[in-house]
Every structure is written in C-alpha cells, then in structure tokens.
Amino acid sequence: MKSNQSAIIKFLMATIVSALLAYAIGIYGNLPWWSFVISNFIVAIAIDQKPWKAFISGALGVGLLWLTLALMIDQQNGHLLSTKVANILPLKGSTTALIAITAFVGFILGGLSSLSGSYVRKAK
C-alpha cells in the first residue's frame, strides 16, 4: 500500500515537474522548440520509475501542457488563426484536429524522451 502510494506520488511528481520544466524552457525562444526533451530526459533519470510509467508521465506532462496552452490561446483568439492553419494543413478546417495534433506531438516526444531517461537508471 505504502509503496503504491509513493509510486503514485512519484508519477505525479514526474508529470508535474516535466510539464513545469518544459514550460520554463519553452519561454526562451532562442532555444530550439524541442528543448523539453532534454529536461524530460533529466527528470526521468532523477525520478526513478518503471519505463512505461516514465513514458506516461513525460507524455502527459508535455502533452497536457501543449494541450492546455493551445486550448487557451485558441479560445482567446476566437479560433481566428487556428481555423486558417487547419485549412492550410490538410485538416479541413478542424481546429479540434489541429489542437489534438499539437497535443499529440508534445505527448509522443515528451513520452519518448522520458522513456530514454528511465532506461539510464534501470538495471537489467
């Protein structure tokens, strides 16, 4: 029970820290857009989890961050730009699809980078 609880705390910690660091590093426009993979990688080394858990927390951390940011921006913008972009990209004008793809990119890269980090710690 106790170990289960600490696993949940670890998972939440890893998710939240990944998200926070990804956001903080993203503020610096001079750094590449993918810089969060480095912070995720380090978080996954620092917070030891099973690989699949590390993947999920990294993925949720960045994925939810990107989802939230995109949703907020889009709402405040009245879908003006997202509608245009969803017509330029082959999405038939679906802003929902555009936001989903945005979140998915964050999700998959966030997950993979944390997964890599987790393997550094894991003994065979």
Partner: protein
C-alpha cells in the same frame, strides 16, 4: 543501464524530432517544420492574438532625438505626434515593422529577385526576370544619387530604416510573423536600399507592362503584317474624353522628335509578313493591364458647402496584407493623414491641414527594347554607331535554397542592361538579344515628392513637389482649402515620334534613341477650369493635337474616364456622400455603347430559343454591374464571344500568345460601318462572313457557356466574377474569397477578380477637414489578428469610415482613441 532499449528509444526520439524539424515535401508544396510550427511556445500559436487585447506600450529607443507619442484609434490607425520630422519617420518605420514586417520583407525580395533564396529553384524564372530587367541596378542608382546629393532625403530614409531595425532588435524569435514560420525563414535587417527597391517595384507595377507588351506587340505585328495590325490595334479612339478636354491649345513644343529615315520598312515593317514562331521558357506574370485608378477634384462652385472635394482611388492588385497602411503624422512642420506604403516613409495618397492630393497612373510608355548585335558569344562587345563598343559586365548572384547559387552575367550597354541574350529568353523574345531602356533605371528622388506633398501649403508647393517626380508617370490631382483645384500629368516622359517604342527598335546606332525628355512645363495640366472639376481615369491625357506620342491605345482604358466626366459634368451641390456614391458607381458605359451595336447586327428571330432568352436578359438589364445582376454576366459573355468570332480567325495559327485588340476597336467599327472586312472568317474560303454572321455565331456560342453557368447557379455577376483579396502567397486560407461586390473593367468601381480600388479616399476641404476612406484589408498584417481583414466587408459593401484627423489635444479626448504607445529616447 539498459543499453539496447535506451539506444532504441533515443534513436526513435531523435528520429522523430528530425522529421518534425525539417520541411517535408508533399506534392509540390513544402510543409513548415511541423514540430516547430505546432509548438505552442514557438510556432504559429504565438501569432494568435488575444481578442480585445490592448496596444498600450512604452518603448525606449536611443536613436530618437526626442519623445514621440502615438495614439491608436479603434481601427488601429496610429496618430504619430513627434517633436521633429526624423523622429516621426523613425516611429513610422517602427510601426510598419510592428504590423507589416513580413510583407515589407517579401515585397522587396520580389523586387530584388531574391525569392529563390527562400522558396527554392521554382522561383528562379521570376528572380532572373527582375534581376535582368535592372531592378537592383535602378535601386542602386537612386541610393547613390540620394546619398551624394540629397542630405534631407538621406536622413529621412535612414531614420525610417533605424525605426524598422529598432523593432527587429527587440523582436523575440518566437514572435516573428506567422509567414516566416510557415515558409521557414528569418527576418533580416532593413536598409535604405530596400526602401528604394520597394519603390522600384511600384515603378515596375505601373510602367513595367511594356516589358511584356512591347515583345507581344512586335510578334503580333510580325504575325499579322503592319496593315492589318494597324487596323486591329489602332490608336484612334473615337469616343475619347481626355484628361485635358479636347480643343485645349497646347504650348509650342520645344522638342520635335523625328521618325528615322527608313523606319517604315526597318522598324514598322510595313512590307514584311508572318515570320515563324519558336518556343522557350516561361516568364513571370506581367503587371495587371488594369493597374490604373480614378481621381478627381471638384471646385466649390459644384459643391453644397462651396469648398472643394477631392477623391482618389488607386486600382491595384488586391492583397492581404494590403499595400496600404493608414497613418497620421504630425510634427511641428506639418500634419498629414493618408495611406502609406509599408517600406517607405511619408504618406503617399492623403491630405494635410491645407490641401489634399491623389494619383492615378499616367500609362505613358517609358520602357523600350533595342535589338543588339554582339560581336561573339562572350557578349563583351556590341555594334553601335559603326564600331564595336565594349559592354561592361554586371553580375547578379541569386542564392537558391537547397541548391547552388545562380550567377547572371548581364552586358550593360549604351541602352541599358541586355535583358535577353543567349542565356536568357522567354516565350516572346524569339531568340533576340535585347537591351532594355527604362526611365525606372534612372536615379529618382520620388520619395521627396511625397515628402514635399506632405508639407505642401498651396498650389505652388504642390507643383514644386511633383516637379521632382520621374517614374512611374502619374496624374497628380490637387485641391486646397483656399479653393484651388488642379491636375497635372507628371513624370519623365520620352518625346516620342508616332509609334516609337511600340515595337522592338533597332539598337545598332543612335537613330532610334530617345530624342529627349519632355520638359515639365509641357506636361498636360489644368488648374481651376471653368467646368468646375478635374479628373483622370487612365485615359489618354490629351487629344491628337498634343505634339508628342503617348504610347499605344491599349495602355489607355477609354470608358471609365467617359463615365466619370459625364457624371461630374451634370452633378451639382455635391457632398462627400455623393462622391462616395460615384466612387462605388457600377454603371457600364461601355455596354451603353456596345449593346445597341450588338442589337444592330443581330437577327433575334434566327436565334435558338435559349439564345433568345439570353438576349432578352441582356436587353432588359439596367446597365449596372451590380453584384446580383445576371444581365451583366450575359452581356460580358456574349461580347467576349462575338469578339472572339471576329478576331479569332486572324489570331489562329500563331504559336505565340498574341495581344487581343481592345474592345473599343470593334465597337467603333460596328458603329462606323457595317462592311468591316476583318469580320470575314479567313479560314472559310468559299464564304464571306459579315459582322451579322459573327454576331449570330457569337451569341449562340455564348449561350452554351451561359447555360452551364446558369446550371451551376453562377449567372449572378458577383458569383461569376468571384472577387477575392488574396494573401501575397496566394494561400486561399489566408485570403478573402468570393466577395459580394459588383463593378468590373470599364466601371468606375473597377473591381475585377483580384484587382480594383485598393484605397478609396474622399476629402472635403472644409476648415476642419472632413475625410472618408478605407482599403480592403486591415491595419495588422498578422493573419492571427482580429485587425487582419477588418475593412474588407465594409469595402465590399461600398461603405466608408470617417477618418480621424485631429491635433493632439483633441485626439487624446476623442472617444475613438483607444491606446497609447510612448516612444522615449532614454
């Protein structure tokens, strides 16, 4: 460490990042770098502006001499109040960059042949064309001249440049305009040269059609033979109502251009016929034939208030972001409002607290080709006046994305750059070596004309300001609070003999050279005429008694001018609202002449039932090109079809695209005599067709097309015409398509498919100026801004905004003033 899974997972991560970090090629287009583009902290999401967000800001700029206050009104028009002129232009540059950076950069890239650098080898044809035409060369001449001779303009353009660059300096990488992210390149520093390149582009847009037309006319003449050519492309316009009324006596000419001996056979080729055609590569689209405009001023004798009203609406390509950006500039020396060009300081079309001015294109021919004879393939020497002359070599290096640089070696001759040679040919150049001579190549202080107009106080200042203007030739209209109205056609105009420069000219000696530039005093002009108005709509400025040749009739649309003058002559007690009504007027004066001509030759009883129904639709039409009018569409399709029936056979068989004769040629013929020999279809040997036959045939053919349109529900004029305001990249999602607007070619409301009134302005010169205006765009160039296309629907509906032009104290308290941007020097 679990090495294998680690390696696998890391490889997948790196691989995915790599894929998302490059531009992928799908079909013919390249995607943005998708990961970057979608990232909410780096990509396009950063350009999605918050609705209702304010624009208050405080900016520190060391280059400023004093402080500048900018108030933004509810339409996001900045009202700049500066302590001195240079600071005002600094801030204008800053604001242009803040709201229109990508567009300024893109337009100067087009002008300087640098599209390949960002878009790849696909754009090489366009880049090579502009390089070889001498666009960069011309901008360099102007830059050099201004730097050496004109300290005030130098300082003005430098202050503007510093403003643009001050904005760039504080711009974070994630905030660069949307299009950079989409097309994956970076903004770069502004420079005075870019301002001159932008102005070169305007010269090209308004006089560069000759670069295509002269070749096409030469080939058309060669194909048809001179006699038939002269019939179909006649310069005689029966119904011309020139800018300067017929019967005006012109001053004695100081220049007497003489046609060289032997020109009839050597140049006009009155004896030769039908040379063979051959083929080569494509060329960029020529500037729109309908690039033109309306402007007029009415004197107090014809207005309700007793004060003059001035109107100006330049017809240009309709684009987003718009070519225009509204601004008020107020300094101790002047206070001016109007439309400015992002890329250039000052107001281009507008008014100040004493007077107003506007421009239309003069349409005069100022670009010619001369055929060169090179000694050998090195193109280092060419034959001129009896000996081999050395040509200097100009190198233009075109950078190409993902590919090696392309080097253009251009021989510079007595005439100008050798645009076409063994290395560069287009569909129309037919293997010839051609040098281009163009007034656009000459150093020009055009920006000074606007600088001075912005500050002009009276008629003399206006004449003085425009006397500096060289290229592109314009009709400058003027009205002042003191009651003066005037119009003058001004530019560097070649003193031509009849048909000089319509075709490629021999370049082996100086006999075909320009024999002089017409002195400013001899340019057509008119001040305070008795009729109470002055106007221009790109028609010929003068009748045939003017001592110089203007250029081919195809450069001078005939009918809009007739409409404008007819209406202004009968209107009295005019108000600004009446003027708005006139600028948006859809009456088709061409159809007024052409419809009876069609009916004269038509036998309704012999038409098919469908054709009869269509003719009925046409004949019941009220002659207004209104958005929902079906008669307009029916008339247009029938007229085009009849024209094709008459000219098509003469044109058939040419491998080259030939110039279509102007519409007035056929109408004038139909009204003149019914035995028009060209009507005969020369392909039918056993039969001689008459105009009657061709009209019947044309109507029947048109009916087929009209029935299809009817089936698709596209017979209403606006749905047929489908006017759009296109983004500069032509991406539909960033454009406004299918606008519900009438008008068209020959109509005062000259709105065609993607061309038309690009800035409508009405200025009533009362003590406190009452001005109205708008352009089909928005003050922000950002597709993610609510101000991106703010004015488009209003514009399409023919409505106007009252322009806010006030001294600082009054503007601050005005209810339409919304935000303040403070500029401080420390």
């Amino acid at each position: 460490m679990r090495i294998l899974p680690f390696i696998a997972s890391t490889l997948v991560t790196v691989g995915l990042i790599t894929v998302l970090n490059v531009q992928l090629t799908i079909g013919k287009t390249q995607t943005p770098k998708l990961g970057y583009f979608l990232s909410p902290q780096h990509g396009f999401w950063k350009n999605a502006e918050k609705l209702g967000a304010g624009f208050d800001a405080s900016i520190v700029a060391k280059d400023l001499k004093g402080n500048v206050d900018v108030y933004m009104d509810d339409r996001l028009v900045p009202h700049i109040y500066a302590d001195n002129d240079e600071d005002a232009y600094f801030v204008q540059g800053f604001l242009h960059a803040k709201f229109r950076l990508w567009q300024m950069d893109f337009q100067t890239r087009v002008a300087s042949g640098r599209l390949s650098e960002i878009a790849g080898a696909d754009k090489l044809t366009i880049d090579r064309f502009f390089r070889r035409l001498g666009m960069v060369y011309g901008a360099e001449q102007t830059e050099k001249f201004i730097n050496e001779n004109n300290p005030v303009m130098k300082a003005t353009v430098e202050a503007y440049t510093a403003g643009v660059n001050a904005y760039l300096k504080q711009l974070s990488p994630e905030d660069i305009p949307f299009e950079y992210k989409l097309m994956n390149y970076q903004p770069e520093e502004w420079s005075p040269k870019k301002t001159y390149l932008f102005l070169m582009f305007m010269s090209y847009d308004l006089t560069g059609r000759a670069a295509a037309a002269d070749l096409q006319l030469t080939n058309t003449r060669d194909f048809l033979g001179y006699d038939l050519f002269d019939k179909l492309y006649t310069n005689q316009q029966d119904s011309l109502d020139p800018i300067i009324p017929k019967g005006t006596t012109f001053a004695e000419a100081s220049l007497h251009p003489i046609q060289p001996a032997g020109a009839d056979s050597v140049y006009l080729k009155k004896q030769t016929l039908n040379t063979a055609a051959q083929n080569t590569s494509a060329s960029p689209e020529a500037p729109d034939k309908n690039n033109g405009s309306n402007n007029w001023a009415v004197s107090g004798s014809k207005t309700k208030s007793g004060r003059p009203i001035l109107c100006s609406d330049p017809h240009l390509g309709l684009n987003l972001p718009s070519l225009w950006y509204e601004v008020q500039i107020t300094t101790p020396t002047h206070s001016t409002y109007g439309a400015s060009f992002p890329g250039s300081p000052a107001v281009i079309i507008g008014f100040n607290d004493s007077l107003a001015w506007g421009v239309t294109n003069a349409g005069r021919d100022v670009l010619d080709y001369y055929e060169l004879k090179f000694k050998d393939s090195t193109q280092k020497e060419y034959w001129f006046n009896g000996s081999w002359q050395a040509a200097s070599n100009r190198q233009e290096i075109i950078k190409v994305k993902d590919s090696a640089d392309v080097v253009e070696n251009i021989a510079m001759t007595h005439w100008g750059p050798a645009m076409f040679d063994t290395h560069y040919q287009n569909v129309q150049s037919m293997g010839r070596n051609l040098a281009v001579k163009w007034t656009g190549h000459n150093a020009s202080t055009g920006v000074e004309t606007f600088y001075k107009l912005n500050r002009a106080k009276n008629y003399d200042d206006y004449i003085n300001a425009i006397s500096l203007w060289k290229c592109p030739g314009q009709n400058f209209v003027f009205a002042s609070k003191t009651g003066d109205i005037a119009i003058k056609q001004q530019g560097s105009f070649v003193a031509r003999w009849d048909r000089q420069g319509d075709f490629i000219m021999p370049g082996v000696d100086s006999s075909y050279d320009w024999q002089g530039i017409i002195p400013n005093e001899e340019n057509p002009m008119m001040k305070n005429p008795e009729r109470g108005f002055v106007s221009s709509a790109n028609q010929k400025s003068v009748d045939s008694t003017y001592p110089y040749y203007l250029g081919t009739a195809s450069s001078f649309p005939l009918y809009r001018g007739i409409s404008v003058n007819k209406r202004l002559a009968i209107m009295n007690q005019m108000t600004p609202m009446d003027m708005q009504g006139l600028q948006t007027d859809n009456y088709n004066v061409f159809a007024e002449v052409a419809r009876p001509a069609l009916n004269k030759f038509m036998d309704q009883t012999k038409l098919s039932p469908d054709a009869q129904r269509m003719v009925m639709e046409m004949n019941h039409w009220d002659l207004y090109n209104n958005a929902n009018s079906k008669g307009t569409t029916v008339f247009k399709i029938i007229w085009d079809s009849v024209e094709y029936a008459v000219w098509g056979d003469e044109m058939a068989g040419s491998k080259l695209p030939l110039t279509k004769p102007e519409a007035f040629v056929l109408v004038d013929q139909m009204n003149r005599d019914s035995n028009f020999s060209v009507a005969d279809d020369i392909r039918t040997k056993d039969k001689i067709e008459t105009l009657k036959d061709q009209v019947q045939l044309g109507i029947e053919k048109a009916t087929k097309k009209l029935l299809e349109l009817e089936k698709d529900n596209k017979l209403a004029w606006a749905s047929f015409k489908a006017t759009s305001v296109n983004h500069l990249t032509k991406i539909p999602a960033l454009s406004r398509l299918n606008l519900p607007i009438g008008g068209g070619v020959n109509i005062i409301n000259a709105t065609t498919e993607n061309h038309g009134p690009s800035w409508r302005m009405v200025v009533h010169l009362t003590d406190e100026i009452e001005a109205y205006g708008l352009y089909p765009g928005g003050q922000s160039g950002n597709p993610g801004s609510p101000y991106y296309d703010t004015f488009v629907d209003y514009w399409a509906a023919g409505k106007y905004y009252r322009l806010l032009f006030l001294p600082k104290a009054k503007l601050i308290t005005n209810e339409r003033t919304k935000w303040r941007i403070q500029f401080k020097n420390a």
